[in-house]
């Protein structure tokens, strides 16, 4: 035996993204998720003979924006094609897609890898319609079809085979997701299927030509993608080592079992006989319209990071997290504009907001706090109307139901008392009740003060300013006075 062969994994992705339009790609049916089966349907999206599809302008707008944001060339004259196949998820017996003249071509996105930055090429982006949902009725042994999803707009982003491992694949997907979320073109949730990634993978010996690839479907999380890549690489290498050939096929990943199997569903013959759809008119894109789209592009993370460093005195780590979601970045910027205290705003978002998102199992995109309420909460703490612990309680209520902080604090009795007499009485009582701590503090045990502050706070039912208590305690303790009389 010679030395062991070195295999390189070659990966390209086909990413389907469900666009955040109100209506379907070719008809006025709602795209709202979760409706009763078949209640968002019409003759167009159920493929009735004689129905006429008409392109949703928002789909074109989103597709072009994603293309511009990923450095693609925009096809000025594009058309739709029919991809013919028989399967009950598509009652037309063809999917309207784009083969010959896709809307975007030849772009790239930059990803961070452990060896530095890398460009992942985008071969093309095309617009197409989603298919209906099949529900298998085990009891009756039949299949039920819901066409609510039929005709929901998708873009398919086809990468070049530029990735070499799972880390690069995840970095690429995260980058795409961030760009698309910043554009507001989709929420890109893998678990919910609004972003779906099919992995095309082959292996080759170092320096050799590309091997035969397989396509892996049903990958619903980054974890599943990582495991599927490792599993498929191994399966292909085993085949090659055993002197067998890799068959070009579509495989379905079973995340529970941790393995994949060849799909036999959609086709006996993978011959789609594409041809231009005669029902849809070609789309010609004018320079003026394209310029409008370019002007409407938002500030993306890369530019935001540079600006944040110049504009706000906050750590790079904060900048990275805050700009990691458009909603978060917007909340940060707008709140800072209102209160002028970037570090305090950042602290709330990096600390409490992140903690609550994690606790509630939410994403940064789900955050519903309004800038004016957060600015008000910060102002309340600045004016010493509310202490830190109470402010966190108010923040949590704002996080869950976007309450008005002043009214909420008032109603819940969280505002600090300004009755200095009451506070003085409480402080004196605490000193009287805790001679041991008094002695400890005077004997040099700095920590004892914390206990005394805590006791006073308790006596005040949490509605006092700890800094003020601290000051009063220190002043009283600085003399020789006895408190136990």
């Amino acid at each position: 035996m010679g030395k062991e062969k070195q295999y390189e994994t070659v990966i390209g992705l086909e990413v389907h993204v469900e666009l955040a339009t109100r209506t379907k790609i070719f008809c006025g049916c709602s795209t709202a998720f979760g409706g009763e089966p078949n209640t968002h349907t019409c003759p167009v999206c159920t493929g009735m003979p004689g129905s006429l599809p008409v392109l949703n302008e928002k789909v074109l707008e989103y597709a072009v924006s994603v293309g511009l944001a990923t450095g693609c060339e925009i096809t000025r004259y594009c058309k739709f094609d029919r991809k013919n196949y028989f399967y009950p998820d598509n009652p037309q017996n063809y999917q309207i897609s784009q083969l010959y003249l896709p809307i975007c071509r030849n772009g790239s996105v930059e990803i961070e890898t452990k060896d530095g930055t890398k460009q992942v090429g985008i071969h093309e982006i095309h617009m197409e319609e989603d298919a209906g949902k099949l529900i298998h009725d085990e009891w009756e042994g039949c299949t039920l079809v819901d066409y609510n999803r039929s005709g929901v707009p998708l873009i398919e982003i086809v990468s070049e085979p530029d990735m070499r491992n799972a880390e690069e694949v995840i970095a690429y997907l995260e980058k795409l997701r961030l760009i698309i979320q910043y554009l507001g073109a989709s929420d890109c949730k893998l678990q919910e299927g609004s972003m779906r990634a099919d992995v095309n993978l082959s292996v080759r010996e170092a320096g050799e030509a590309y091997g035969t690839r397989t396509e892996m479907k049903n990958l619903n999380s980054f974890r599943a993608i990582t495991r599927a890549i490792a599993g498929e690489r191994e399966r292909q290498i085993d085949l090659l080592e055993a002197g067998e050939a890799v068959i070009q096929e579509t495989r379905r990943w079973d995340d529970e079992r941790g393995c994949s199997y060849a799909m036999r569903s959609k086709e006996d013959a993978q011959d789609y006989r594409y041809f231009p759809d005669p029902d849809l008119t070609p789309v010609r894109i004018s320079e003026a319209w394209l310029a409008e789209r370019k002007a409407a592009l938002p500030e993306f993370q890369t530019e935001k990071k540079i600006r944040y460093r110049e504009e706000y005195q906050i750590p790079d780590y904060d900048i990275e997290i805050l700009t990691g979601s458009r909603q978060m970045a917007e909340l940060f910027e707008k709140t800072t504009a209102l209160c002028g205290e970037p570090k305090k705003v950042s602290n709330w978002l990096m600390g409490e907001a992140m903690r609550l998102l994690k606790e509630r199992g939410l994403d940064p995109e789900d955050i519903r706090i309004t800038p004016s309420n957060l600015a008000e909460l910060i102002a309340m703490t600045n004016r010493r109307e509310i202490n830190g612990a109470a402010a966190k309680e108010v923040f949590e209520a704002m996080f869950d139901t976007d309450v008005d902080p002043a009214r909420y604090a008032q109603e819940k009795g969280l505002l600090m008392t300004h009755d200095t007499d009451a506070l003085t009485r409480a402080v004196k009582q605490v000193l009287k009740d805790n001679p041991k701590s008094v002695e400890d503090y005077r004997g040099g045990k700095e920590k004892a003060i914390g206990f005394l502050v805590g006791q006073t706070m308790k006596a005040m039912h949490g509605k006092a300013d700890p800094a003020l208590i601290n000051g009063m305690l220190r002043e009283l303790l600085s003399g020789e006075a006895k408190f136990d009389a």
């Binding site: 089966p37 078949n38 349907t41 299949t143 006996d268 849809l280």
Partner: protein
């Protein structure tokens, strides 16, 4: 006829179109298809150098609609066409996963 369509080709085209043809129909289909290809050959005699393939007869472009919900719930009307329905859904023979 210059073109000859093999039995395998007709079989394959039949599978793609989900058609079950009798032997008699296959024979006829082979003849028809050969004649069609002969006609295509005739068209190919024309010099089409530099001529874009035409996919649309009318020169209409950019027919778009605004992203506004116009479709209502047409479930009952659509299901009325279904051979079988259950729980508001179309029933089809069991598909493989």
């Amino acid at each position: 006829m210059a073109n000859i369509i093999s039995e395998e080709t007709i079989e394959y085209v039949g599978i793609l179109a989900k058609l079950e043809l009798s032997d008699e129909e296959k024979k006829q289909a082979r003849k028809d298809m050969a004649r069609m290809l002969d006609y295509i050959d005739q068209l190919n005699e024309l010099d089409t150098e530099g001529v874009e393939p035409m996919s649309h007869v009318f020169s209409v472009e950019n027919v778009l609609r605004r992203d506004v919900v116009t479709g209502g719930d047409m479930r009952d009307a659509l299901l009325a066409n279904a051979p079988e329905e259950k729980d508001g859904m179309f029933v089809v023979p069991r598909t493989f996963e």
